[in-house]
Amino acid sequence: MISFQQVGKTYPDGTVAVAATDLTADSGRITVLVGPSGSGKTTLLRMVNRMIDPTSGSILIDGVDVKSKPAPELRRGIGYVIQNAGLFPHRTVLANIMTVPRLLGWSKERAREKSMELLLTVGLEAEHAQRYPYQLSGGQQQRVGVARALVADPPVLLMDEPFSAVDPVVRKDLQTELLRLQSELEKTILFVTHDIDEAILLGDKVAVLNTGGVLEQFDSPSELLAKPKNEFVEGFLGVDRGVRRLSFFSSGAVPLRPEPVVAIDTPAQEVLARRSAQPWLLVVDTERKPVGWLLADHVPADGDLGKVAAGDLVSYGHTFTVEAESLRAALDSAVLSPSSRAVGVDAHGAVVGVASVEELVPAIRAAQDGSSPESSR
Amino acid sequence: MNVLSDAWGWLTTASNWHGSDGIPTRFLEHFEYSVEAVLIGALIAFPLGLLTGHTKRGGLVVTSLANIARALPTLGLVVLLVVVIGVKFRAVMIPLVALTVPPILLNTYEGVRNVDPRLTDAAQGMGLRPWQVLWRAEVPAAMPLILTGFQFAAVNAVANTAIAAYSSFGGLGRYIIDGLATTDYGMVAGGAILIVVAAILNLVFFAVLRRVLISPGLQSRERASA
């Protein structure tokens, strides 16, 4: 647990970088500091490993004041990841990862062994070990940066805009990877970003900071989206916070109807009966995997689905996995479908049922009214 | 033997300030050789530097040439040319020019080549013709480095004009050579001090030139480079 107690930073010229701030980053959780530039988020982060000293207040890690140890010693026990990774260009990937263990006085063998292990943990290959940083892509370099920060198994990890400099596709990968790692390692992570989407995706709790280092709100992402405390937070969250908040609610509550679903081998009688009751039929194969939407008018007169012209089948867009995926995914599935209907599938991809936009509304309503989400990510 | 008093005695002897081997004459000779060496060097090297820098081609040739020139012993070249063609103006000027070309060429090339591509893109985008891009965008932006090249050329010229006196005529180096030949250490030291003065005046001149020629927008970024 990292606790900031009345921590402030005022520069000699009078500039306030951080106003007296109280904040607690829970153990084993990701706490995100988010805000525009000049909001003191990086300053707060760097005060934890004493790269910057606060002018007031104190910072405790698990109850121990960070000032009670010499700074270098303190830093060796705290992982630190920054934008562009900051790898040492003159050292191989493996030597980079071995840095802190060697500083801590581990034997070469032990440092090497543990570093190789971490290299694989962060999703790189053994063959990357002897490369130099310039031979890696930006995303790979960042993975090495994470491995280097984690190798000595520090309980606390500081991450300063670590994924800001890579392209969106790679960023997405790295974010997913971080969540995966965190579910195994359960570090106390303090994560700085200016990207609110990243904050909401990664944070167990998010601290929104304003210019001049003022903490405006400190809440869980869902709470933040539901009840922004003031205009600044609301503005920072952006216009579609209502829709985004749906990602914190399970799609389990969506009422899925199986009636519009017809298998390719459904008897003709049955097909004809369904046609009269439904404007759209979802055709599935014998394993109940979706094939496409069919307008009721295009169902062959004899009810034989084998005769449907390929051109009459309309793409079903994308499906959502019931329970595992969020209400937001369900809504998205409906909005993107030409039939305005969401297709819910089970873990194996077999269709459970469909729901129209209108049928989703009560579930959405319930989520917005409910004070807390039924399930977390 | 006290260097300074000997030199002072020689420098303050009135007769040393008159005539064809007097200090003003030698000083002017030194100045003249140096300036000519830089100007001839510039005539050759500056256009070549602009061309190679603008086209970003020939870098290897330029840098190798500069390296070889740094290795050339002036004294040897002067002696060789004097032995081969006799005591002529060319015998001094060829080695001197050989040493003023490389710094101008190298720095002009590096300066123009390393101009921020966004700047040249913008200049092209505004419809400037290639030579206008060169003259209005690349050269002003490269001016700090170009001037450094000229400064090194001038430093070389002043220093090597002194050395060239070893085997030919004129310039302040004569006092050192003649003084050594006649074991007049006052003349040797006095000449050496005059050469030091000439070298410092040269630097002062370039410091002023920088103020005048480099756009104030670039002054803060200016850094000396060899």
Binding site: H90 | L60, P73, V82, Y166, A226
Partner: protein
């Protein structure tokens, strides 16, 4: 014309001349380097002293060797020391700005990472700052080495010029072959040393993606 004519015996042998030339040139580079590294690090540490240091070095660099040699003779005599001292100063002038630029040029994120991982001052200097400054330091060493090997020959004016003695002899005996030989030997020595430095740099910096020019 014989490229390597018999040289008058009073001048020594090719071997002894090579040895003299390299002794004077390389020891002056070495002395320059020994002083340049701490001086440059001071300039990095206290940026305020850098401009006056650079200005002083620029002035020193512009002082002609021939003048410095003869001005030193009363103090250090007609010895190799007299040649080595000014050349060491020239090396210093070539090296200090390169080292300063090199250390200052270390990317901010690398510097930050080093501090955040708990490097202390001296250890960081040895394991991070100096290794990263190797390419610019080597560039400075190349300039200083090549220049010094060539400039040693001016020492013949005070009687210690190694291959420069061939130029004196060429002028006195009116023998162009001696001058040509002297020039070739000096240029060859300089370029061989330069090549060795380039190879050394490649070996020292396998991590450097920009190939040295």
């Amino acid at each position: 014309m014989n490229l390597f004519p018999h040289i008058p015996s009073y001048l020594g042998t090719y071997g002894s001349l090579i040895q003299q030339q390299l002794t004077m040139a390389l020891s002056s580079v070495l002395f320059g380097l020994i002083v340049a590294v701490p001086l440059a690090l001071l300039c990095v540490r206290y940026p305020r002293i850098y401009p006056p240091v650079v200005a002083t070095l620029t002035v020193i660099y512009s002082l002609p060797s021939i003048a410095l040699f003869v001005l030193l003779v009363p103090s250090t005599g007609l010895t190799q020391t007299t040649v080595i001292i000014p050349l060491a100063f020239y090396s210093l002038a070539a090296l200090v700005p390169n080292i300063v630029d090199g250390v200052r040029g270390i990317p901010e994120d690398v510097r930050l990472a080093a501090v955040a991982m708990g490097y202390t001052g001296a250890r960081r200097l040895v394991s991070v700052d100096l290794p990263l400054a190797v390419p610019p330091i080597m560039a400075g060493l190349r300039v200083a080495t090549v220049g010094n090997i060539s400039m040693v020959s001016v020492g013949t004016v005070i009687g210690v010029g190694a291959f420069g003695a061939l130029f004196t002899a060429a002028a006195q005996l009116n023998r162009s072959d001696l001058a040509v030989t002297g020039i070739i030997c000096i240029v060859a020595l300089a370029l061989i040393c330069d090549l060795l430095l380039v190879i050394t740099q490649r070996l020292l910096t396998p991590w450097n993606q920009r190939r040295s020019r």
